[in-house]
Subunit: 319 residues, 2 copies
């Protein structure tokens, strides 16, 4: 059994071409070829914390994967990171534990951002004028970095509630080769960006229907729980295409769940990202469409990234 | 993070008094004080295998525990053990991983046998004439050994389909201080034993209603899945007391589920082991009652044994 640390994982990641692995995962999932049971959840009260167990496998593959991830917001008071996690690979033939990836939640950040990049690849307009990032947290960083793989646009507007965090975000992302235009309001961001990624923990809509121009793609990835929400559900009603990573999960959580509950959307109007990647459903078909990708995170992403990292690291002796 | 091997675990176990820890776990569970979400299950087809994820915690305790256990019956063809498993302890305050108990499924065997011993402690007749063991597998061994803690009886009858396996079982258990009386049929076993433990993977009833005398206690622990069954449901209908480790689980799997489905039992006639231990429900109240304990395995057992082992081992430096 191999124990793989975050340092080893971070060293391996730049050499890996993860986008195709993730795409294959979404395709298998939407074709009903991935075995992904419902997410296990453990809620703690004092201090508040939640633990998610995501697990599954692709048939005829080498491994099954179990991810245990936690979020304890009060950890910051103890100078500990709030999010944590690890992935475990087991041999599909025998159940033996092959590897423990002690990634401390890092691989979840990466695979979440890659899903955003894949959504943009298939749904964003051909010419991205300006990228709009809503939020200034960890995923605001990962999402923007991942977009480099799928668009040449490096012009960004970012919006956040806290001016200092906005400034810090801009500084960091400028180091990564992005240039920033000033953003005063979300309205301004929506009026000038045609690829928007929302990455906040908001529990009430930030983006309003009136703000959204034709020809915009929005990836909403902040709302992964039933009580979270970033988009006015009227945006989903107005969209030409609404794409879920998992329709099953999006019925219960995220933007689609809110729109379904308000009868602004029906489940049969929603397609899955894996269908769009496979080409069984068309993605964006014209420049002036509004498209939405609602990402809640699927275990198949964890399966694919864990496998890719482990296989890359196990080819040569571990340090 | 500590990694604890099976060798270390086996060295620690004899020094531990686990029965009270397990009893406290059952009491907390039946009082609604344990947080134990539904069991996660992953089924594999080729080769066949199943993986169970059991997890939970007791509020105001130090840890939460996740157990991942697997059963791959074809492993024996590769000279690998069919059952495997490990337990993971996380800090309830922060979500940090404290320890990985690489017990290879051993702690599951131990905690399952301890539940059988607890059932016998509260439900078996005061004078055990002879212990009847149905089955000759791993749990047939663990269950009998665990009964030493709760009865002075060392006289045993064992029944199995395979005479060679029966002989081997007797040889091994004689080394442990038990004496065996010859068993030709299950009928004979039931006619002479008043503490019976069924430990098989049968999918159709082995013990029939007509075999069971008044004054018998039966612990049925083999049927942990919906399709398994060891007891004629009429035995449950005739019993004075039917005890589940978890009524919620026993509604879906095990002997009680079969009896409920055939309307030979109603859920409100079933009590939980934790209620009997706590004394909020009476256990056996007379020598001639028939009592049944149906054990399907509850995560609270894993929580309690993992915690006890880890705390014992972390008091001194790990080898």
């Amino acid at each position: 059994m191999d124990i793989i640390t975050l340092t080893q994982i971070q060293a391996a990641l730049p050499k890996l071409d993860l986008l195709p692995a993730l795409e294959q995962g979404f395709v298998a999932y939407s074709a009903g070829k991935a075995v992904v049971p419902p997410v296990g959840e453990l809620i703690l009260q004092d201090p508040p914390g939640d633990v998610h167990i995501k697990y599954g496998y692709l048939p005829h593959d080498s491994y099954y994967v179990v991810k245990i991830a936690s979020s304890f917001p009060h950890n910051t008071r103890l100078n500990l990171p709030p999010n944590n996690g690890m992935m475990q690979l087991f041999r599909q033939q025998t159940g033996e534990l092959c590897a423990l990836l002690l990634d401390e939640g890092y691989l979840t950040e990466v695979r979440t951002a890659l899903a955003g990049a894949i959504a943009a690849k298939y749904l964003a307009p051909a010419t991205v004028e300006c990228i709009g990032i809503v939020g200034t947290g960890i995923q605001a960083r990962f999402q923007l970095q991942a977009l480099r793989e799928v668009t040449t646009c490096r012009q960004v507007r970012v919006w956040g509630r806290d001016a200092q965090r906005v400034a810090q975000y801009q500084d960091e992302m400028e180091q990564e080769g992005f240039t920033f235009l000033p953003t005063s309001t979300l309205e301004k961001l929506c009026a000038t960006c045609n690829l928007i990624v929302t990455t906040t923990t908001a529990s009430a809509p930030l983006l309003q229907r009136a703000h959204i121009r034709q020809g915009t793609h929005i990836t909403a990835m902040g709302a992964d729980m039933a009580n979270k929400q970033e988009l006015d559900p009227a945006i989903l009603a107005a969209a030409d295409l609404v794409v879920a990573d998992s329709l099953e999960q999006c019925r219960e959580r995220g933007e689609i769940a809110h729109a379904l509950r308000q009868h602004l959307l029906t489940p049969d109007a929603v397609v899955e990202l894996g269908q769009v990647i496979a080409g069984t459903v068309a993605g964006r078909t014209s420049a002036d469409q509004i498209t939405i990708a609602d990402l809640t995170g699927v275990a198949v992403q964890d399966i694919q990234i864990a496998k890719a990292v482990y296989e890359a690291l196990s080819e040569k002796p571990l340090e």
